[in-house]
Structures are given as structure tokens and as C-alpha cells.
Amino acid sequence: MNVGQFEQLVLTAILSLRDDAYGVSIHSKVADLAKPKAVSLGAVYVTLDRLEDKGYLSSWLADPTPERGGRAKRFYRLEALGERALRESAVTAKRVWQEVGRVRGWLKSYWLLSCWLLSCWLFS
């Protein structure tokens, strides 16, 4: 299950917001997670629609509230498929980071060995 970076951010935001995941709250959470990159509300809507079409999310329209001019909120919930996709993405990201760490460690050792050999040659 391939989930893009922005989709991962949106899924993580919905997971952390639990019952309070609607357009505005999801956008603020995603903006927090994506700092310092700016995130537009339109991009969040597009991603929410795409994830819902994939079956990763479900949504429902709640009761209207006065602070929104009497307009209802659309809440989102993470489905089992979405949780699985997010988990797989996290496992893949962890594996990638471990490999990067291993290669960096190898490069660091190679660099130290090269410096030692050069110093041996220079001072011999």
C-alpha cells in the first residue's frame, strides 16, 4: 500500500485528533507536522477526498454549530485499511532511516581510515 508523504501527514493528523478530526483541525495539525513548509487548506481537502476514495478514511456530516455561521462540520475517521497503510509507511521509513544510519556509519569509518593511512604515509 503506497501512501505519499503528504497523505501520511494527513493520516497521522486524523489519528492524533481522534474524535475532533474535521477540516480546520486537520489542517492546523498537518501544518504543525509539516513545519516549516506551508500547507494550504485546499491541498488538505484534495488529500482527504483521495484517501476517502481509497477506503482509508470515512466521513460523516455532524450537527451545525453557531460559530461556523450555522454550518455543519464534516468529521473524518481512520479506517482499518488506513491504519494499516500508515503502519506500513512508518515501518518502511524506519527501515530507510536505519539503512541511512548504517551507510553514514560506514562512510564515517572509511573517512577515519583514509585520514589515518594518509597521516601514516605523510609522517613515515
Binding site: Y45, R68, G69, R71, R74
Partner: protein, 239 residues
């Protein structure tokens, strides 16, 4: 002063609401209202958000396979009309490109009509009205600036309308398709439809290829056997 500000926000909200598809109007306007107190900020946020909402809705309501079939039928209708009435037009590349213009206009209007359909209001006439609206737009643009010769325009549009009506009856817009309680998810249905259409196209292509190798006097019986075999397969598979 406060009343004037509130009125300004309401007016801008109503104006912006016209552009947002009905299926998501409520929550998008509510979110914009919650984020922005003033009219100016509301308008600025709406200008940055609404185009994405419209594009997303168009993507959700457009079935790419059906759109391809509609484009094909529409273009073939105009091409057939031009072939009969003005063969010189078909011989030129510019002529072939000109024939695509009314198709593009009709398909764009159909896509927008599906995106702006209200899912809470079901209507049996919706496919018919959408096709009528699409070709009304084509003729309106044709009146302002002629796209094709009149005879080709009339006959091509008539044939296209028939084909599009049949296609829309066979494959209703995504928002109008019935959803079973235990049915597959939206994206799974799209995959199932696409796979089915591809299989059918491949089967037809295979039959035509085999048919070209069969001698003329055996074509009838072989075709009959193949069709009979397909029918028996589908009947026995369902039982």
C-alpha cells in the same frame, strides 16, 4: 458598522458558495467561516481553497473509462458526419483537430455537471439534462463563434447526443450509482469496472483477430459458436 461588516461577510459567503459543488458546500463554507472573521480574509482564503475543492470533486465524480468512451463516441460522430458531408475536411490535419473542439466543450460541461450535481436530490432525468446542457453550451459557443460547418455540427451533435445518452443510461454518473450495504468501496468499484472493460476490449480484439484468419464461408458458424460459448460461460458462472 458592525452590521455592515456582518452583511459583507454574508454576501461574500453566498457568492463563494455558488462556486462550491453542493456535495461539499456546507463543510467548506463552515471551515472558511471558522478560520476567517473578516470579509477580506474570507475572500482571500476562499480564492486559494475553492479551485482545489472543485478539482477534487471533478476527479471524484468522473469515471475515466466512461469519459474515454464518451470522448470516442462523440468524436466518431462528428468524424462520420464530416466524412459524409465534407471529405476534404477530414483529409486535413486542421480539419481533424477542429472536429475535436465541440467534443471537448461537451465533455467539460458534462464533467462539471456531474461535479455540481446535488447527491441529495436524485433524478431520473439527470443524465438527459446533463447531455442537453452540454450540447446547449456547444451550440451557444457555436453561435458566438462558428466551430464547424452547420450541417456537420447539426448531424454530429445529434449522433453524439444519442450515443452519450445511451452511455449515461448504461453507466450512470458515479454519484448516482446505487451503493449496496455490503458492497465494495468506491475505489474498488472503479477498479472492477476498469478491469471488466479492459477484459471485454481485449476479448473483442482477440475475436476480431481470430476472425480475420477464418475463411469467409466459415465466419458465420465460428462467430456463432464463440458467442454461444461466451453466453454459456456467463450463464453457468452466475448459477
Amino acid at each position: 458598522m458592525l452590521a455592515a461588516l456582518v452583511l459583507a461577510v454574508l454576501v461574500i459567503e453566498k457568492s463563494v458558495g455558488i462556486f462550491i459543488p453542493p456535495a461539499c458546500r456546507e463543510e467548506v463554507l463552515g471551515d472558511l467561516r471558522e478560520r476567517n472573521e473578516g470579509a477580506q480574509l474570507f475572500l482571500y482564503d476562499a480564492l486559494r481553497t475553492v479551485p482545489f475543492v472543485i478539482l477534487s470533486r471533478v476527479r471524484r465524480t468522473t469515471d475515466s473509462v466512461v469519459l474515454l468512451m464518451e470522448a470516442f463516441c462523440c468524436y466518431v460522430s462528428y468524424l462520420a458526419a464530416a466524412w459524409v458531408l465534407s471529405p476534404a475536411m477530414v483529409a486535413k490535419r486542421e480539419g481533424l483537430s477542429r472536429l475535436a473542439i465541440p467534443c471537448v466543450i461537451a465533455l467539460v460541461v458534462l464533467m462539471l455537471a456531474d461535479a455540481y450535481a446535488n447527491p441529495r436530490k436524485k433524478s431520473m432525468l439527470r443524465p438527459v439534462l446533463a447531455v442537453a446542457l452540454a450540447f446547449a453550451a456547444v451550440f451557444a459557443i457555436h453561435l458566438a463563434r462558428p466551430l464547424l460547418p452547420k450541417a456537420i455540427m447539426a448531424i454530429g451533435s445529434g449522433m453524439s447526443m444519442l450515443f452519450l445518452l445511451v452511455l449515461r443510461m448504461l453507466f450512470p454518473p458515479l454519484a448516482d450509482r446505487p451503493q449496496l450495504a455490503q458492497g465494495p468501496a468506491f475505489w474498488q468499484k472503479q477498479e472492477i469496472v476498469a478491469a471488466g472493460v479492459l477484459k471485454a476490449t481485449a476479448a473483442i480484439a482477440g475475436i476480431l483477430l481470430l476472425g480475420s484468419a477464418v475463411p469467409d464461408h466459415l465466419k458465420g458458424p465460428v462467430l456463432g459458436m464463440v458467442l454461444g460459448g461466451v453466453m454459456i460461460y456467463y450463464i453457468t458462472r452466475r448459477t
